[in-house]
């Protein structure tokens, strides 16, 4: 177990280093910089040069990178060059919207996908099983913004839910804040749940065909009993992986939902900062998110390690 953790942690640090290099380099490939955003359509070459010098944009890239990493290693992820606000404070503020959204949609997705996926697997040759499977496929295929529009049209009026926005007072207005996240949560959960449903279904099917299930049936257990006693734990292994990957990609892909519902979250902030070429803030934010994502991946691996004895044996 200790060796597994050490190896896995080493991988985590390496991944973060690579992520920092990629983020830094990619941002520098984007045309246009902070100076042109500040100067706008009043710009003259002289003023551009002045602003670049003031902001330190004219320094060698390697020096800029090491400055940044020096800060990161002491826990300073940087600050916006436009407003001076720190990456940590801004990300914290925006996570107050995005994190609850990500977590609640994952829970809702799991709550639907697991029972329905198992059911669809057990009734794979029946009309309802096939129907469920088809609905899952549809859920994956329909674009999220369309799901959002449909949900707004169907539910916003009849359930009295806000179709956009988040209270300016944030979670101080708890009721309003919660209600404003309902439709975004359902939208995110629809796509996420559809993917999960298919994974749960196929991994359950996989398990149902295993020898040990036949043995369990031979011992006298019903199919359902056998599945609950022996099958689900095995079936959950690939599903846990998928949930981990989905959580990570949710953070990255939440831009559309936040835009459609006008939620002041992480995705909207990143989009805006990239538009403003506020690279100091973007790279700090992306690196911090990478830390979160990679740590989630790490925890998922540990969880699998605990669920799956074969991994433990292999790691010895």
């Amino acid at each position: 177990m200790a060796w597994f953790l050490v190896r896995r942690l080493g991988l985590l640090v390496l991944a973060l280093f690579v992520a920092s290099v990629i983020v830094f380099a990619l941002l520098r490939l984007v045309p246009g910089d902070l100076a042109v955003v500040i100067a706008g359509t009043e710009v003259t070459p002289e003023r551009l040069a002045t602003i670049r010098a003031e902001l330190g944009l004219d320094r060698p890239l390697l020096a800029q990178y090491f400055d940044w990493m020096g800060g990161v290693l002491t826990g300073d992820f940087g600050r916006s060059a436009l407003t001076g606000s720190t990456v940590t404070s801004q990300l914290g503020e925006k996570l107050a919207v995005t994190a609850p959204l990500v977590i609640s949609s994952t829970i809702v997705a799991l709550a639907f996908a697991v029972p329905l996926g198992v059911y669809a697997a057990m009734r794979r040759n029946k009309a309802d099983g096939v129907g469920l499977s088809a609905i899952g496929q549809l859920g994956i295929a329909v674009p999220q913004f369309l799901v959002a529009m449909i949900l707004i049209a169907l539910l916003a009026g009849s359930w009295g839910l806000p179709s956009q926005g988040f209270p300016r007072q944030g979670w101080d207005e708890f009721g309003r804040a919660t209600r404003s996240l309902v439709l975004p949560t359902l939208t995110l959960a629809a796509a996420q749940g559809a993917i999960l449903l298919r994974f749960v279904r196929s991994s359950t099917l996989d398990v149902l065909n295993q020898d040990y299930m036949r043995t369990a049936r031979a011992k006298g257990l019903t199919r359902v009993e056998a599945l609950f006693a022996h099958g689900l734990r095995n079936a959950s292994i690939p599903v846990v992986s998928v949930v981990g990957v989905q959580l990570a990609s949710l953070f990255a892909g939440i831009v559309v939902i936040e835009s459609v519902f006008n939620l002041p979250g992480v995705g909207q902030m990143l989009l805006r900062d990239i538009g403003n070429r506020d690279f100091d803030k973007v790279q700090g934010t992306v690196l911090l998110i990478s830390v979160v994502v990679l740590v989630i991946g790490f925890l998922v691996d540990v969880a699998q390690f605990l669920i799956d004895p074969r991994l433990r044996d292999g790691a010895r």
């Binding site: 407003t83 801004q90 926005g165 006008n262 909207q268 902030m269």
Partner: protein
């Protein structure tokens, strides 16, 4: 359809002043304020108004940060200007009375008594001098370039000396260049200490900015308690917010989404021309486009009225870079009317009978249907256009700075921006000695009538030489809930003075 057309809302705000006068120009005219005690219309004094907008400022530094979003938020609300102006250029006193010398080289400003900044500091001449010094090195440098010295002989007087006359200076002093900050102010990115009727309260970056009433305002305090600027990146979300009652009004709502408010008695729609010329810029230094026949062909290939129809009529037809409320406006829209056959003939004459290929680099902030429309109209006369949409920052770098484009499009929102056509280095690279001469004379002439006439001539010549196509003039389309009044309806996308807003109690 309720559609109140109020194109020129007179800036005779706050019902007080209006002793004004003196022409926008008049040498030696003394402009003074006569304050009267007329009260503001009764309304709910505790009302907190939420207004929706599209573009959020990147930071609050009015000295260095470019962009109309900042003027819209801060001017007239937090910062006040030295003088004020009406859309057609009439100047009246703001924070100061202005006297212009006979030779038009000396501007003497007498700063009003009893004006204080939000932190309690009194406004003095040295605040004005300090701010102008900052502005001359910042974003306003070009507009203030004819200023030689700015001095304060005493606490209430500021004397500006020019190197040559500048007939636009008084107008610019009513805009951002004339905003007055508290001397020595720091952290301008996040704070704003002005003399205005509202105080900066809270900025939720990426979402909203709230201003609250300045109860110690030197004039009559505003009649609403707070105004929140709420920003929407998604037009549907903005329309939904109006329907939900989350916002009280929305400025420049997507014209595609206006319909649902048009026959609804709960909402009032206002629209009128702005300073925003939607300009199809051409690279005049390009070998192909340096030929006036080609530029004229492009002009005649595009049916502007068809484009206005796509905007559901919420736009104004123009034939030159001059909005209809300017004194030097004349209707030039029929100079080169839509005529695909004429366009094809011109192209053939110029040697492009077999067609022509041009690049089209456009910022991604304009409706795609407008861009596609231009592409298809040009295809009709045999011009193959490859459209590339880019982020605005990329656009500035690629088009504005590096001139790496054939065609482009941008909304030019700055008031009185006709002088850009006299700058051969401006991104169109339009170099017309005659136009430069006319606009140069206009800026320095002693005679007010000649000023207007010279600009009119320049505009006519620009239209004839067709360095760009003025596709249309944007109208500000504002949808407000009924019961709200006094909100700005002239060029509200460039400036949103909330002072006069009242809410029925």
């Amino acid at each position: 359809m309720r559609r109140n057309c109020t194109p020129h809302r007179s800036a005779a705000r706050r019902s007080l002043l209006v002793a004004t006068t003196a022409a926008f120009f008049g040498a030696g005219a003394l402009l003074t304020t006569t304050a009267s005690a007329t009260s503001v219309p009764a309304g709910d004094p505790d009302a907190e108004v939420v207004a929706g907008f599209v573009i959020e400022p990147t930071n609050l530094n009015i000295i260095t940060q470019a962009g109309a979003a900042l003027d819209q938020l801060l001017l007239g609300n937090i910062y006040e200007t030295l003088v004020k102006s009406t859309p057609d250029g009439e100047i009246s006193p703001g924070l100061a009375d202005l006297e212009i010398s006979e030779d038009r080289l000396t501007y003497t400003l007498t700063v009003h008594d009893g004006v204080t900044f939000h932190d309690g500091d009194p406004l003095t001449a040295s605040d004005v001098v300090w701010t102008l010094e900052q502005q001359r090195e910042g974003n306003e440098a070009a507009r203030l370039s004819r200023i030689e010295t700015v001095e304060a002989p005493d606490d209430a007087t500021v004397v500006i000396t020019l190197s040559e006359p500048d007939n636009d200076l008084a107008f610019h002093l009513s805009q951002r260049a004339g905003a007055v900050l508290n001397e020595g102010a720091t952290d301008l990115e996040n704070t704003a200490d002005g003399t205005g009727p509202f105080v900066l309260d809270e900025w939720n970056q990426g979402s909203s900015i709230t201003l609250v009433r300045n109860d110690d305002y030197w004039g009559e305090p505003a009649s609403i308690a707070a105004i929140t600027f709420q920003y929407f990146t998604d037009p549907n979300a903005a329309a939904n917010a109006l329907l939900d009652g989350d916002i009280d009004l929305h400025v420049r709502i997507d014209t595609d989404l206006v319909e649902q408010f048009e026959d609804n008695p709960d909402y009032v729609i206002t629209d009128g021309p702005t300073n925003g010329e939607f300009t199809l810029g051409m690279n005049n230094a390009d070998e192909v486009l340096s030929d006036q026949r080609v530029r004229q062909a492009i002009t005649q290939a595009i049916d502007k009225q068809g484009l206005i129809d796509l905007y559901r009529g919420y736009a104004t037809l123009i034939g030159a870079p001059v909005p209809p409320f300017e004194a030097w406006y004349e209707d030039l829209s029929e100079l080169y009317p839509f005529d695909p056959d004429a366009a094809r003939a011109l192209l053939e004459e110029a040697g492009y009978a077999d067609g022509l290929e041009l690049s089209f680099v456009a910022p991604n902030i304009y409706p795609t249907y407008a861009l596609d429309y231009v592409v298809s109209q040009l295809a009709d006369v045999g011009i193959t256009v490859s459209l590339e949409t880019v982020e605005f920052a990329t656009w500035i770098e690629q088009v504005y700075v590096n001139h790496d484009y054939d065609l482009t499009v941008v909304l030019h929102v700055e008031p009185r921006d006709i002088d850009n056509y006299a700058n051969p280095e401006y991104y169109w690279l339009y170099d017309s000695a005659e136009v430069q001469d006319l606009l140069g004379q206009a800026r320095t002439t002693q005679d007010p009538d000649e000023f207007v006439e010279l600009r009119r001539q320049a505009a006519a010549l620009i239209a004839e030489e067709a360095p760009a196509v003025w596709l249309l003039l944007y109208n500000d389309v504002t949808v407000a809930r009924a019961g709200l009044s006094g909100y700005p309806t002239f060029d509200a996308n460039a400036r949103f003075d909330a002072y006069d807003i009242t809410v029925e109690s």
